[in-house]
């Protein structure tokens, strides 16, 4: 029982990442009708926003310590972060410690800017082009983006730890009446889940309760008619793309402490997020979120030792197997609408 609860928690956590990426992907599909293979790269860029911001915070100058020597026998150089000079060692250190949460603020304008530039500079010209062309151009862009990151940060993963206050685990078991130490769950993953819920809620509220959102939803349903009514739908779609980029970026920022970012993490998520979107149903935002959590939980269950021993290899294929079963029983995924991306 306790193991099942742990795996549900794991699934929710994994699911939050899937759901956030799939949400942005669906927004772009649904509103712009564009197959965006660079969406994984946006997630990666978000994670690297956290890396860059913590690098900026820990920018240092060198002090030569004559008392010690490095491996070649030269005097040792020690880095002292500027933050320590400005705010004093203690406050400086805690600002650096909080780099990841702080970088949310840093990443929002950057991701919105990137999204804006991408849509205006590139994607806009591909609305009327076949999906195949969209795939080629966004895939090319994804490669270029990750190669640029690789050129600056190398190919190795870069640890971007969560603040000291969030390390360690929360004892869920006690809360639910189990023995202590049976259900432990890391704080930061709980934070991630809460954060994801917040973002998803915000996006839904935005679309549901604002005039802007109403127009966008109308545009998703019938773009032509909305255009005929004299509404400049294109402008709104640009902003929608920027929001989608921002959601992917924020998902990446907060994910950085969970899995150390590297330049190809976007590609690792790309295929999975497409599966999530399609299982959820094209053009359906609730579908994408629901499918994200569903696949996350199933993946976690399939990884349990007992399950793997029963069905060897099930953990490797569970997501794809579930996707096949769902698509065969429900033609348009869980909540898909008729006619979207079916041609």
């Amino acid at each position: 029982m306790d193991q099942i609860i742990v795996q549900v928690l794991n699934g929710l956590d994994k699911g939050s990442a899937y759901a956030l990426i799939a949400l942005g992907l669906t927004l772009i599909f649904g509103t712009l009708g564009v197959v965006n293979f660079a969406h994984g790269a946006l997630f990666m860029l978000g994670a690297f926003c956290a890396v860059i911001f913590s690098r900026i915070l820990s920018l240092s100058h060198e002090i030569v310590d004559e008392t010690r020597t490095d491996f070649l026998g030269n005097p040792m150089k020690i880095d002292v972060p500027y933050m320590h000079d400005i705010f004093g060692p203690e406050l400086g250190a805690s600002i650096i410690d909080w780099a990841v949460p702080l970088s949310i603020l840093f990443s929002i304008p950057i991701m919105v800017g990137i999204g804006f530039a991408m849509e205006r500079g590139l994607i806009k010209h591909f609305y009327k082009r076949p999906h195949a062309d969209q795939i080629l151009v966004t895939f090319g862009l994804a490669i270029v983006l990750q190669e640029i990151i690789k050129a600056f940060f190398g190919a190795n993963p870069i640890q971007t730890p969560a603040p000291e206050a969030f390390t360690g685990s929360f004892d869920f078991g006690v809360l639910l009446g189990f023995d202590p130490l049976t259900i432990m769950y890391p704080y930061w993953r709980l934070v991630y889940f809460a954060f994801a819920a917040l973002i998803i809620g915000a996006v839904f509220a935005f679309l549901q309760f604002t005039t802007f959102g109403m127009v966008v939803r109308a545009g998703m349903a019938d773009r032509e008619t909305v255009g005929l009514l004299g509404i400049d739908i294109d402008r709104r779609f640009t902003l929608m793309f920027a929001i989608a980029a921002c959601v992917a970026g924020l998902a990446g920022v907060m994910y950085a402490p969970i899995v150390a970012p590297n330049y190809h993490m976007g590609m690792d998520f790309l295929v999975l997020s497409f599966v999530v979107v399609v299982v959820g149903g094209m053009g359906s935002l609730p579908g994408a979120v629901f499918a994200g959590f569903l696949l996350g939980i199933l993946e976690s269950f399939a990884s349990m030792p007992a399950v793997v021993q029963l069905l060897p290899g099930i953990n490797q294929i569970v997501i794809y197997l579930v996707a096949i079963i769902i698509l065969l029983t429900r033609p348009r995924g869980l909540m898909g609408r008729k006619g979207v991306m079916e041609e």
Binding site: Q3, L72, I158, S169, I258, D268, S303, P305
Partner: protein, 454 residues
């Protein structure tokens, strides 16, 4: 000066096509007049450096390439000579190999066996390489080794740790300097028992592919022989990035040690997750919970940051060996010195093994007096040497595996910089990690006969 002119074919042609417009066709496989593939006939010889330049192991590949370029420089008499000074065999004198200047070509394995073979074949067919080295995974090593066997050139494996490379997939034209899964197990087990006690229950998380299997088998059998119990072992997909679902059940499984049979990105992520789930602070069965990583990679350890503190693992070599354990490991400092002078940081074990392999090849050719693969194989088989950083070493004739001491390391608690992440705990002597050529973990292979390719 153009590089192509240095290859066998370039030179062949200069002679053949001097006056006549059209020479008679010559057969490639039988070319070279000396009866072996790509026999160098000019005043240069070409080596092929096939390393991962893209994908997850690009940093390891880059470090290998640095070391290989350094090796070429030293062989041609440049720089400070590095390990040529300390190498027990004095056949090399800094005038290239057999008086021929060493040239090299590079290629990208992408850590995929197909791409690695394509790259290696272009080196053999287009550039006339006589030897190929490098690589950062066993899949690639086995694939390229088989290719070199067919084509009739020598393969000096880079970083490859699976038992299979010199076990069931061993080949006469292939040689491995790097240690293997069995040696990791044999070296680590006594130290683990020494540090954590003989009454331990281990939980294995294993990457679901050949290297993972051989490592798990080696670790489990070596530790069980000394009293440990293996509680469970779970396979994890290679493409997994978030290991939470595998880590979470560990604490309640009754185990008190977690063995992570993961490498590279897998290792960084699973270790990070293990720390997140508080395994390092946990207690089980009344003992402190421990995590073990059988194969350490300093480069990837950088990616794991603070999380490796206090975690035991094994390495083929470490740049601090000679400083800490004395002259037995001579050569280490010479290499670190010239590498550090040139690039500004100490070399990794991947860099070391590639550098040494290149030197060993050059030395074998010089001692044999010929580039012919069979002559090189004969010179390397059963070759005993010293002064290349690992202490006295034997290239065993039966399986072309090097036998030498294995370094057991532990992640430093307070590393001073990103290159000094591990401390040496102990060095397990050669005798303890030596096994019979027909050991069950290595069964099912045959070297075959050496192939000159003619």
């Amino acid at each position: 000066m153009s590089r192509q002119n240095l290859t066998r074919r370039g030179v062949l042609k200069t002679g053949a096509a001097a006056g006549a417009g059209l020479a008679l066709p010559t057969y490639l496989s039988a070319a070279g007049h000396e009866g072996f593939t790509n026999a160098p006939s000019g005043d240069t010889v070409t080596l092929g450096f096939n390393v991962p330049l893209t994908n997850a192991y690009a940093e390891e590949g880059a470090d290998e390439l640095r070391a290989l370029e350094l090796a070429v420089e030293h062989l041609n008499g440049g720089g400070d000579g590095g390990m040529l000074q300390t190498f027990s065999s004095k056949a090399l004198d800094g005038t290239g190999i057999l008086g021929k200047k060493v040239e090299y070509v590079t290629g990208d394995t992408q850590t995929k066996s197909d791409a690695a073979r394509a790259s290696a074949r272009s080196m053999i067919e287009k550039d006339g390489a006589v030897m190929i080295t490098g690589g950062s995974s066993s899949g690639v090593a086995v694939a390229v080794q088989a290719l070199c066997q067919e084509a009739g050139i020598i393969f000096m494996a880079g970083l490859t740790h699976s038992n299979d490379t010199t076990g069931k997939d061993r080949k006469a034209n292939g040689f491995r300097h790097f240690f293997n899964s069995y040696m990791s197990g044999a070296a680590l087990a006594p130290i683990l028992v020494d540090q954590y006690g003989a009454d331990r229950k281990a939980y294995h998380l294993t990457a679901d592919y050949n290297w993972g299997y051989t490592t798990e088998e080696a670790m489990a059998s070596s530790t069980e022989a000394l009293g440990w119990e293996t509680v469970n072992s779970v396979k994890t997909p290679l493409t997994q990035t978030d290991f939470s679902a595998y880590i979470a059940p560990v604490l309640n499984s009754g185990a008190d040690v977690l063995v992570l049979n993961h490498y590279g990105g897998n290792m960084v992520n699973s270790l990070t997750n293990a720390v997140q789930f508080g395994l390092r602070e946990a207690e089980a069965n009344g003992k402190k919970f421990e995590v073990v990583v059988p194969l350490y990679s300093e480069l990837m350890a950088r990616g794991a940051g603070q999380n490796i503190a206090g975690i035991l693992g094994s390495q083929n070599w470490d740049w601090k060996l000679e400083n800490q354990l004395g002259a037995r490991y001579s050569g280490t400092n010479a290499f670190v010195q010239s590498f550090g002078e040139k690039y500004g940081f100490p070399p990794s074990q991947a860099a070391h093994t590639c550098y040494v392999q290149t030197l060993l090849y050059a030395d074998a050719v010089t001692r044999a007096g010929s580039f012919a693969p069979c002559a090189v194989v004969e010179a390397l088989e059963g070759f005993e040497f010293d002064g290349l950083g690992n202490g006295p070493t034997l290239y065993r004739a039966d399986d072309h595996q090097c036998f030498k001491d294995v370094v057991v390391v532990r992640g430093k608690e307070n590393p001073e910089n990103e290159f000094d992440l591990v401390e040496i705990v102990e060095v397990t002597p050669t005798e303890q990690v030596t096994y019979a050529p027909d050991h069950p973990q290595f069964a099912g292979g045959a070297l075959g006969t050496c192939n000159n390719g003619a």
